[in-house]
Symmetry: C2
Subunit: 211 residues, 2 copies
């Protein structure tokens, strides 16, 4: 019951964050277009894709064992598939920011946000491959699975923590580049988006921690 | 054994982060002095105190049940006392940033970092009071304690996640105010400090998650 309420609240803040990001990028910023000649429209693919992948889909995948009303092997398939889609969208989002840097001759990967982000995406990919071969195809022996499972779970939680930090630092970095001031509406919008993402993450953690 | 190695690694990254912050504030910045007429020396009390309180001491308090080699009631006392010292230092760090804002006529609490930070410190104080009356003085009945304990644990983990986000967004915000560029040594120092704090947090999580 408690876990159900908590995952419900997680969904709520996940959807709220998605709406807030769209309002931000479409109304306050330049819009979203990977193929645009306007580098800022290309950049905006980055926050949208990274949120959808490493935050929203990752959170849904983490909660899949509680939220998917099916047998265990179907839940497991959803868990794996949602993470796979997240990795693909994450790579698109990463390519968008690299393309933006190239268009404006900005160096790649020098800030704290950049390093947290790339470490998270790479480790996330490794964790997915490791999880696939251990638990699904071909799958290890039962004794090995039982030994590996706690590490898989705690590794996943740490990666999700890293992804939330990547999102929050990314919002702060962009707010800094835009020199957002206290009296601007956009400042409040970015703050609410960051808090909503944090609450999504918090409720994902609580929903899997409380049975 | 695993938990022991993980808490050892947490200590290592905790001390590394402390050294990096000191090098940053004392060598690259203006130094640390709450009573100074230089507002930037006053400001520098903030990152130092917030790291020592909501990150380092909070992490040590979370791990106290594994790391303090004593009977359970002594471990519990250390857990409570470390969190109490953390709250006191956290209030000092918060006062420092408010004093800095007043000295330079900067508005309080408008950024994402500011809101994550203040929400974390306030909730942390509430969690401490709630923990004290439930588990220590006067202490609830056994059945109540058993019911409350999972919520206390997961609440503590979420607060620690929030504290790490506050630290990382704080570093990004300051890097933005200083307009740190890719080729500067200080940029790398801030990045390494942020990654070291993230690794401290990760190993605290792993050490309590893996028994």
């Amino acid at each position: 019951m408690s876990a159900c309420v908590m995952s419900g609240l997680a969904h709520l803040f996940g959807i709220l964050s998605f709406i807030l990001i769209l309002v931000w990028l479409l109304h306050f910023r330049e819009g979203i277009d990977y193929a645009s000649v306007n580098p800022f429209r290309v950049f905006n693919v980055h926050p949208l894709m990274m949120f959808l992948s490493l935050i929203f889909l990752a959170g849904e995948a983490i909660m899949a064992f509680q939220t998917v009303p099916a047998q265990r092997h179907i839940k497991k398939f959803f868990h794996m598939a949602l993470h796979l889609i997240a990795i693909v969208l994450g790579i698109v989002g990463l390519c968008a920011v690299f393309k933006f840097h190239d268009m404006l001759h900005i160096p790649h990967l020098y800030s704290l946000h950049g390093w947290i982000g790339i470490l998270t995406l790479c480790s996330y990919g490794l964790q997915w491959v490791f999880g696939l071969v251990t638990f699904l195809v071909p799958g290890a022996q039962d004794a090995t699975r039982a030994r590996v499972l706690p590490w898989h779970k705690i590794g996943g939680k740490v990666l999700f923590l890293m992804a939330i930090c990547a999102a929050e630092t990314g919002l702060m970095e962009k707010a800094g580049f835009l020199s957002l001031k206290a009296h601007q509406t956009e400042t409040s919008l970015v703050t609410f988006t960051g808090l909503s993402i944090l609450l999504f993450g918090a409720f994902v953690f609580v929903s899997i921690g409380i049975r």
